[in-house]
Amino acid sequence: MRSRSPTRTVAPRSLIDIDDLSRDEIFGLLDRAVSFKQTAPPRDLLAGVPVLNLFFEASTRTATSFTLAEQRVGADVISFAPGTSSLGKGETISDTAITLRGIGVRVIVVRHPEAGFPRRLAEAFDGHVVNAGDGPRAHPTQALLDLMTLRNEFCSLERLHVAIVGDILHSRVARSNIVGMTRLGIDVTLVGPPTLLPDAFAVDGVHIERNFEAVLPRVDAVMMLRIQRERITASLLPPLDDYTRNYQLDRRRLDMLPDGAVILHPGPYNRGVELTDDVLDDPRSRYVAQVGNGVFVRMAVLDLLVNGARAA
């Protein structure tokens, strides 16, 4: 996708998508996350900094992970799930931002069903905004934890080949990973049916492949995305049997995956749809490592945004 790399000497104020980070900043964040994993950081990194978790959309993994990360760096954590109808729709975004700053919030971790909400909020908010997922647009901390997981497996990410499989069109995880992976020199192949993976996704460094089995033998990692059943009623998919015939990762296809490859999944997964139970039992599956890394990545992001250069 777009490879507009930021050039600056100071740390970014907010993290809205991966393209807010330069290549060096991404590596700096990953190094920092690894160091936090090895040695617990001092608990006063963000001592007394009021952090608001503002989730307009339900979340289990991400909300828990952020909360834990915030507590481990000593922030004052406030969590609020306003629901999509009230705040942010009724009043203008800038009014929301000014109100929250007036209360004293310095960092907002925000999830919203609409693409672009965190960017609009960050423009109006005199503080830091971390995007915890906006509609189908971006989920930068998920992409960072995926990169951290891959980096733990492979000595170099350069020329690594990763396939992302499934509902690319509606996936913020895919979009952020496409940007992050291509920025770090990873070859990305997208796999899925044309209704969930339009040709418009083919850009520099990103290939589209409809034949999953042709891709499997030559990847270093495969990322399986969740298929939402409502896509069927939206006439994007026929009955699931037809989808799973082409794109489900099952026992037979696992055998086509190289031994040294790994399997990623951002969760939540639908057993029997994009993957079978065999996948979760497979030694190449890295789902648990991914969610574990998420906490350290989020600690590193908060540290970078609030404390700036110290983290770089």
Binding site: G88, T92, I93, F117, D134, P198, A200
Partner: protein, 441 residues
Amino acid sequence: MKTLVRGGRVVDPAQRIDALRDVFIDDGVIVEIGERLAADGARVVDATGAIVAPGFIDMHVHLREPGQTRKETIATGSAAAVAGGFTAVACMPNTDPALDSPTIVSEVVRRAHAAALARVYPIGAITRRRAGTELAPYHLLRDAGCVAFSDDGATIANARVLRNAARYAIDLSGPFISHCEDAELKGEAVMNEGRNSARLGLEGSPGLAEDVIVARDLLIAEDTGKNWHIAHVSTARSLDLVRWARARGVPTTCEVTPHHLFFVDDRFEDYRADGKVNPPLRDAPDRLALVAGVRDGTIDAFATDHAPHGADEKAQLLSVAPVGFSGLEIAVGAYALAVPDLPLERFVALLSTNPARILGVPGGSLAPGSPGDVTIFAERPWTVDAYRFHSLGKNTPFDGMRFTRRVIATIVAGSVVYEDGRVTPRPARDEFAPRPTEVAR
């Protein structure tokens, strides 16, 4: 009252005039075009160095009254019209209530007359409440002043209803005007479908959503024989369909907006709704096809789709922010910028001669006996400042841009209603009070 427009270059495609001439208006009507006419007690408007054209007609505007007067009123919209060089506008029926009854239409006509600026021609609804099911009373609407019929943004989904409407209204000269967007293909789209929508994670509407309705409506036009106008074409394929229909003898015309001629779908990086409009801004090949369609004559009319909204409304999230933006006050400069080097005679034809012909309204010519409606413009650089619009809608993607062509003065029925940035209503006693019931049957 007499008015003499002196010293300008008169460009009147209807009379094939392009020469230095004076124009004399008396009692609201053009009485003479000639060289060095005597003032004879008339107010003299100096047009030296400027172009004098028959009054511009914007056949696609939204005046928001009744029902949404926070966005615009007939008075403010009329002021915006004359400030933009338009002596007449045709207003779409998507008001609240819709323009689907003669009572409401008469009230619009009355308020436009009270504003005493531009002429305002209402466009009646095709179906009651623009709901797409029951036919509106076309003949009563015409008697009340409607010059065309459209359900505007509410594309009539039911082809049977649309065909019956066209058959019933076949004896009326006012065209049917189609805003072509298939609701299902469009979905919840906020922009054009393509690489940018894929990358930004925004739902896009494909050009196909327009094309299928253009094709259907042109087939219904052929089937019924009804004269048909396609509003704001935005795709290359829609233009091809218009060419195809014309080759088959279908009585069809079409218009294009300044924004579709100039912008493409790369304006959503900031997730702001400034460029959100229906149909959406398309990609570069479509845009270039529209420019070519202006040059080769496929496109008959320039129409702005002036769609004013409050700044706070446009500042909302992309999904809920309203579609459209103001167009009347940027039109002359924007069209000149979007289609550079278009012959002046064509420029005037698209803004005056052709809209008058399509709608069947007076004007579109400076021939003696025509209404005393004149637009004077010149090649003079200026910078758009939406904050200074006469319209209540202060949004336009052209804001801050530098234009080279601007309106100098606007004359309606012999009265100078706009000059030097000032809007002045016509005198109370008006020769051109609308008397729509006298329209010939």
